[in-house]
């Protein structure tokens, strides 16, 4: 087996991160080709966690950009510190210390530049992990704006010129597929789809994240959660974090086995919609997964 892949596995093992072969190979490809990694999958399958773990494993700073509808480059790239510029103008003009032309020239310098996550990741002297979270929530215009950054690792600021990346950030983009991403963006990325974990993998995650948990309870919870994720009656599918919350709640209450009574009293930790809870508690199939 390739030693570099083995090293990557070792680094993730050190972070107590549960992975599969698919994830490791894709991470390796993205790192080696210096391609951004686009991760798609349902909400709560651990897409963001990949970036966090990689930052810890590679010993790099994690720079996060949370996308949302209407986001523009002033929130993603940079912004001039308008208030500081205004104060400077008022103070300096008041004292008559400087010429107007000299003053206006100095107003667009480093001192007045507010770095946002994208610029910060490019100008960082040390390589960082850049997480562009939920890119599908941003507008298509913003996606187009990202293309220059992702292909060349450089951005252009009219007042300062083109800024090239000093180091290569490892870029992770996540998407819940709320809207399709452009082919141009996808072509620049290595791609990974993360599905909900199998029962066996989820038990391993539970045991890694909550050491000391009774294995039989972990298996019961993982099987019940699998049923919830596959059920048509549940719209908001439980995430891995919610599985962990559920099992923590059960343990805190001193419950050793997941029976109907235990499930009814703690179901709110794993299902967050009233319709979902109502539908599933009456579901015969769900009851059968319980003791």
């Amino acid at each position: 087996m390739n030693t570099e892949i083995e090293n990557l596995k070792r680094m993730l093992d050190e972070q107590r991160y549960i992975y599969d072969e698919e994830l490791i190979i894709t991470l390796f490809v993205a790192l080696k080709l210096e391609r951004p990694l686009l991760i798609e999958g349902a909400a709560g399958v651990g897409k963001t966690e990949v970036a966090k773990v990689m930052a810890r494993a590679l010993g790099r700073e994690l720079v996060r950009l949370q996308c949302y509808e209407g986001m523009d480059e002033t929130k993603a790239l940079y912004e001039w510190n308008y208030q500081k510029q205004l104060l400077t103008i008022q103070v300096k003009m008041g004292t008559g210390e400087v010429e107007t032309s000299e003053l206006t020239g100095s107003l667009f310098g480093e001192e007045y530049l507010l770095e946002r996550p994208l610029l910060r990741s490019i100008r960082s002297p040390e390589p960082v992990v850049l997480l562009i979270d939920e890119i599908d929530k941003a507008d298509e215009e913003f996606e187009a704006f990202l293309l220059e950054l992702l292909s060349e690792f450089q951005v252009t600021i009219p007042e300062l010129g083109t800024i090239k990346s000093r180091t290569s950030p490892f870029v992770v983009l996540t998407s819940n597929s709320v809207r399709p991403l452009s082919d141009a963006l996808k072509r620049r990325c290595a791609y990974l789809y993360i599905d909900y974990p199998t029962v066996e993998k989820e038990v391993r995650i539970i045991r890694a994240r909550l050491p000391g948990i009774d294995t039989s309870l972990a298996v019961q919870v993982a099987e019940a959660v699998k049923y919830l994720r596959e059920s048509d009656k549940v719209v908001k599918k439980p995430s891995i974090a919610e599985t962990l919350d559920w099992i923590s709640a059960l343990t805190t209450l001193g419950i050793k086995s997941l029976d109907e009574k235990a499930a009814e009293s703690t179901i709110g930790f794993v299902l967050k919609n009233y319709e979902d809870i109502e539908g599933i508690l009456d579901d015969e199939g769900f009851r059968r997964t319980l003791n």
Binding site: I25, V29, Y191, V235
Partner: protein
């Protein structure tokens, strides 16, 4: 031949890229170059690793990953497996030839061979011995009739084909060899290809998508507030707090107003299913419009009640009873009749949503009517079940597009996205 590694060449990868392109994946030179580099990095010892690494480069969605894996497994097989597959295919071909010869010998009437097409012969050859004997008995029974004389070849062929179809064996076009995909595949399946058996799954998916869409729209973050124009009045007012300095700039925010919506649904024959699906989406989404009316059209136009559009079965029954179903499509006539209604069903604040594939009689009249309507309503949104890739070849699309926002709604996913845009005020 440039070798990347033992047993694999750039030429091989190029052919593989070409195969993927044929399967509908968007593969360019850069992907092939990346694949070459990846193979150099990870070697070829571990087939699963190679498959996953190439998948990360070539496949850019879950469905593409599945296509990629199937293509990969067919293309990159080991020498031994390939030889075995070839041997197996050769053996199967020989057996099939033998069965066909036997079938031709059996398919005779009065010592003359029946003139059947090769597909029918093949279907007959694939039957078991008992089934073939049963079929021949049926054939003799059906033709043992003096009134049928002289012997009619076409009649005989028809009997065999009908009998084979009755027995549910494959005949071209019967659809029995269609592969059953995962329910999730329905999201990307062309809506016109959805079968009656798949309709319940589609309804469940629509309900799920609608609930997800409603949830995601209500969860949307507030806009940054800087994408609009500067609000001078508020900025000046705010500056009074800082001695007249424009310390805080205020921006105008885009207002989202609820729309008055008018749905015009094509229910002529093949369009009925699409209109049913689209109406379920539009009507189920909360927060879309403060008021809405629905009209159905084919050659005529009729208004339907809110109750009917809320239930797919009731809607279908209503359409079939209305006399509109199964007729031709006259978009121009439908819009013209709507403009003659009193009170007028639309005004300057109405968003007119047309659910139709644009195919109509008298395209010129339709174009004139759409142009006329576009000046009288706020906006026309056209939800088209025909994929955008085919629009360039459609004269009607070219004619109507300048007067409306036309959206590709050929799949459930596209339909959901169109409704999300409608609901979030992006249209």
């Amino acid at each position: 031949m440039t070798r990347v590694s033992e047993g694999l060449s750039i030429e091989n990868l190029t052919v593989f890229s070409h195969l993927l392109r044929q399967q509908g994946l968007s593969v360019g030179i850069s992907e092939t170059m990346d694949a070459t580099r990846v193979i150099e990095l990870i070697g070829l010892e571990d087939k699963n690793a190679v498959r996953q690494a190439l998948s990360a480069i070539y496949a850019k969605s879950k469905s593409q990953q599945r296509i990629f894996r199937e293509t990969f497994d067919r293309y990159f097989v080991g020498e031994e497996i390939r030889r075995r597959q070839l041997d197996q295919k050769k053996k199967e071909r020989e057996e099939q030839q033998k069965r066909l010869r036997e079938a031709e010998e059996e398919l005779q009437y009065n010592g003359k061979p029946l003139e059947l097409n090769s597909e029918t012969k093949e279907a007959y050859a694939n039957l078991s011995r008992a089934e073939r004997e049963q079929l021949m008995r049926y054939l003799e029974f059906s033709t043992d009739n003096k009134r049928r004389s002289p012997f009619n070849q076409r009649f005989m062929q028809k009997i065999i084909q009908q009998r084979l179809m009755l027995d549910d064996h494959y005949l071209p076009g019967s659809g029995s060899e269609e592969m059953q995909g995962e329910p999730e595949d329905l999201l990307e399946k062309n809506l016109s290809d959805i079968t009656d058996e798949e309709v319940p799954h589609v309804i469940a998916l629509i309900n799920r998508l609608v609930r997800q869409l409603n949830g995601s729209i209500s969860r949307e973050y507030r806009r940054s507030g800087k994408s609009g124009r500067l609000d001078f009045r508020k900025t000046i007012h705010e500056s009074l707090r800082t001695g007249g300095s424009f310390y805080r700039l205020r921006y105008k925010k885009r207002r989202r107003s609820k729309k008055r919506m008018l749905l015009l649904c094509d229910v002529s024959g093949s369009m009925l299913k699409f209109s049913q699906f689209a109406i379920q989406f539009i009507k189920s989404m909360s927060d879309v419009a403060e008021s809405s009316e629905t009209f159905l059209f084919s050659e005529d136009v009729k208004k339907v009640s809110r109750f009917v559009t809320g239930n797919m079965k009731a809607f279908e029954e209503h359409v079939k009873e209305s006399g509109l179903w199964g007729k031709g499509t006259d978009i121009g006539g439908a819009i013209e009749k709507m403009t003659q209604l009193r009170p007028l069903p639309f005004n300057g604040s109405t968003v007119l949503i047309i659910l139709s594939d644009t195919k109509t009689v008298n395209t010129k009249k339709a174009e004139d009517q759409i142009k006329n309507a576009s000046a009288r309503v706020k906006k026309i949104i056209w939800m088209n079940p025909i994929p955008e890739s085919k629009w360039a070849n459609m004269k009607s699309v070219t004619a109507f597009k300048p007067y409306c926002s036309m959206l590709d709604c050929s799949t459930l996913n596209n339909l959901a996205r169109a409704c999300a845009r409608l609901s979030s005020g992006q249209l």
